[in-house]
Symmetry: C2
Subunit: 270 residues, 2 copies
Amino acid sequence: MSSPESQQAALGVFDSGVGGLTVVRALRELLPNESIVYLGDTARVPYGSKSPDTIRRFSVEDTQFLVGHGVKAVIVACNTATAHALPLLQATFRVPIIGVLEAGVEATLADPNCERVGIIGTAGTIRSSAYQYALAMRKPSLQIHATATPLLVPFVEEGWTDHSALKLVLKEYLNPLLAKGMDTLVLGCTHYPLLMPVLQKMLGKKVRLVDSASTCAAHTKRVLEDQNLLRTARSKPTLEIFLTDLSEQAEAMAKRFLGTEFGKVKKATL
Amino acid sequence: MSSPESQQAALGVFDSGVGGLTVVRALRELLPNESIVYLGDTARVPYGSKSPDTIRRFSVEDTQFLVGHGVKAVIVACNTATAHALPLLQATFRVPIIGVLEAGVEATLADPNCERVGIIGTAGTIRSSAYQYALAMRKPSLQIHATATPLLVPFVEEGWTDHSALKLVLKEYLNPLLAKGMDTLVLGCTHYPLLMPVLQKMLGKKVRLVDSASTCAAHTKRVLEDQNLLRTARSKPTLEIFLTDLSEQAEAMAKRFLGTEFGKVKKATL
């Protein structure tokens, strides 16, 4: 089904900005032999507040860029783009297209005791209802409560992930979900893994947290195995990072999200 | 110097998003006989976190759109775009280009007792040092303390302009400025006029607040008078609003910033 060349090709990953590097970080931990080409559309970030048409146009351009770099599969590491553009991308391109959202849905339902799910994400992700539909289709008895939490990305980007103001903001957003008896919280945005420590402290062991970055990496591994696309070469895998806008701020954030140093970031023109 | 046709033409106003409508609101109060064409680049908002090159490219495209609509002057109602692109725009286009930043600088220095100035704005505006340079050039004895306050725009856009979390955030940002004895605070972002009530409560009468929207309207009036460009027609002036991305969220915010209803928003393609 796949040629040896495509096995050795890189995985393509795109996001509206640098948040998707939390997915790259999880991929590198789980699939350390894979090469990765990452595209962050930092010139047009964020997607979360924009319209479905615009998000679809941007997502097609992002995927075209990665396919032009010869990738063997594309991971949409942006919940908003997955929510609005995944079917269009899958119909348009021949390589497998993996969405961060489906992985989160699978991981949520992996626990059979899950009854009351809270979902947080950007305005675009929540308004799309993609998580809500996907969960409800697969488990109709599920109680689902979704809330747009647009202030969380700016707090993560400011680096205030343990600030008392953030805790007040989280309370404002999460108290209505807790009042509904939520047993599982889906972190529907690739920025949110950096909030895991504060969320774990706030929610204790009562609420299971489903983080889209690590679940997406696990899902990608299964797809590569099923399609016989795992890289077999013994040479060192590569990591290339392209951004559509270069700034010190974006590079500093990229390091924080990736959790490690990396080589020179390249400028991409779409 | 100017033809009667150009007197009757509209003012062009652009911003990275809908925040610049606070400037339109101030313009309509001060110059109620002027027609206005507004362009909000909502598809690429925000500019504040992007690089100077990208901000200049976007600003030229925005200005071209307005000039293509026959405006008699262009008001850059975005502090970040003014900071990085104003000289380029003035060198490139023949109509007067008015920046929101110079107006704020003038208003700041209008009070001869002003000695210690705090400036708040987006990362891009503060990093450009445009306010800092402009103030220092005109009054070398001034003590200037500038702070990037990237969380304020998201709070305004969320509508949490009186939330206790916002007050903690403002304290974190402003306490270092107050410790320096700040007597004047320049609100270097067109979103910030909506924070005037909470800032006035927090800072009392000790600190003079300079709001870039109303100072920009006053500056525009002077430029139009000087260049004999005030509209003399007695017909009702028009207001046209173009956005590069249409979404319910952007339209709802636009109403809040403009403080009034308006007709149908049009989609602009740059």
